[in-house]
């Protein structure tokens, strides 16, 4: 069912440590190809054969991942590592940077009304320095990384949801001021 090309792409996906791009695949194969089509066919194959993996478009490329149904088993395999979720302040800071990038620390602080510590996000490779702003002080500008897209399952920044309008915000049932728990849907 799978042509050699399919199998080569699958092998590349298995070994790649970052999302595989069309240009990378072309270089490896030595010829141009419609990567998107091949990915779709691979996913169809996985589906038909009930295989536990799936290829997702992430961060301008494609990544081979295990299906979500198996997450519980995998966490048991890596018992020592708990599920580390980002804190509320980290998520707020990330949201500001994601939507407003490039943005300076001062601008971030002004929106949040508190002093922001950017180091943890840099260390997690979710944000990076994108240059300096012209003007007095030449402050650093921050933006999101490619890993940020992977982490949140986004193909590109365009896939970020629209910034909500005020009306829809009051529909949130979460009591503010307490760690929000997520309702899986």
């Amino acid at each position: 069912m799978l042509s050699p090309t399919h199998r080569i792409i699958l092998a590349l996906l298995m070994v790649a440590r970052e999302p595989l791009t069309t240009s990378q695949a072309a270089v490896c194969l030595g010829e141009d190809l419609d990567l998107e089509a091949i990915i779709n066919e691979l996913n169809q194959f996985f589906d038909e054969n009930a295989l536990p993996m799936i290829i997702q478009p992430l961060a301008e490329g494609y990544r081979l991942l295990t299906r979500s149904e198996y997450a519980q088993y995998i966490t048991r395999l890596y018992q020592s590592r708990g599920r580390l979720r980002l804190s509320r302040s980290a998520l707020e800071t990330l949201a500001i940077i994601a939507y407003k990038q490039p943005v300076t620390k001062v601008e971030i602080d002004a929106i949040r009304g508190v002093d922001t510590n950017l180091k943890p996000l840099i260390e997690k490779n979710l944000i990076q320095i994108k240059g300096r702003q012209d003007g007095p002080g030449r402050p650093l500008l921050y933006g999101t990384t490619s890993y940020f897209l992977e982490y949140f399952g986004l193909k590109s920044l365009k896939d970020l949801p629209q910034l909500p309008e005020l009306e829809s915000l009051t529909s949130s049932n979460e009591p503010l001021g307490i760690e929000t728990t997520l309702n899986p849907n």
């Binding site: 996906l13 298995m14 070994v15 790649a16 440590r17 993996m53 799936i54 997702q56 990544r63 081979l64 991942l65 295990t66 299906r67 979500s68 198996y70 997450a71 995998i74 599920r83 979720r85 980002l86 509320r88 302040s89 998520l91 707020e92 990330l94 949201a95 500001i96 994601a98 939507y99 002004a110 929106i111 949040r112 009304g113 508190v114 002093d115 992977e150 982490y151 949140f152 399952g153 986004l154 949801p161 910034l163 909500p164 005020l166 829809s168 915000l169 009051t170 949130s172 979460e174 503010l176 001021g177 307490i178 929000t180 997520l182 899986p184």
Partner: protein, 246 residues
Amino acid sequence: MSYNVKLDVFEGPLDLLLYFIKRDEINIYDIPIAHLTQEYLDYLQLMQRLNLHLAGEFILMAALLMRIKVQMLLPQPESEESIEVEDPRTELVQMLVEYQKYKAASQFLAQLEAQQSEYVPVSVANPEDRFDPDLFLSEVNLFDLGLVFAQLLKSLPGPQYYELEKIKVTINQQIEFIRNCFNGRQRLRFSEICRQLQNRIEVVVTFLAILEMIKNAEIRVSQKALFDDIWLLSSCRKETHVIANA
């Protein structure tokens, strides 16, 4: 005993204000500033009474709220040209609306995070890693390792032993010593005394002895200029030799 607990319940003053706005169903575009300020200050007071640490930003916001309140209380000047006076709440409202946008966005991100965490990336070890020449070791057995270890131990420097000597000099001894140095004279230079001392401990103890003698009013000290030699002057007037302070 008091405890210092820091509750990360509110992300900052804006978060706290939004809580009140939501709880009291306040219209964010027409905030009753007196009410909101009162709620806010009550909360700060509660935090302080519970000995909870408040970041400076909370205090800053309190000042901002009070300023807005005052501005709203002041009568607006009447003028022929109906100039639009800016609502003093405007800046605050803008801050709150902006913050709320990103707060909601962060909740979206949290959902995305949770969803994506169910998918684990497949990443087989890079074939290049397997052939790292540095990792290759020739045939080595336990005996060889033991030999190397023994050699290492031999080449290590032995333990150093230091002898500490007990300090034999006392303050009283040095007081006697200084008295002897005076030898009937009325005054004496500190440097003269030091010349006879043999090590640093003796100098230190001698200095302490001088201080003790000053305390007992046995001697006085004088110095002409900064870092000049110190003169010790005996307090017992044997002769009426009043030496002009050189």
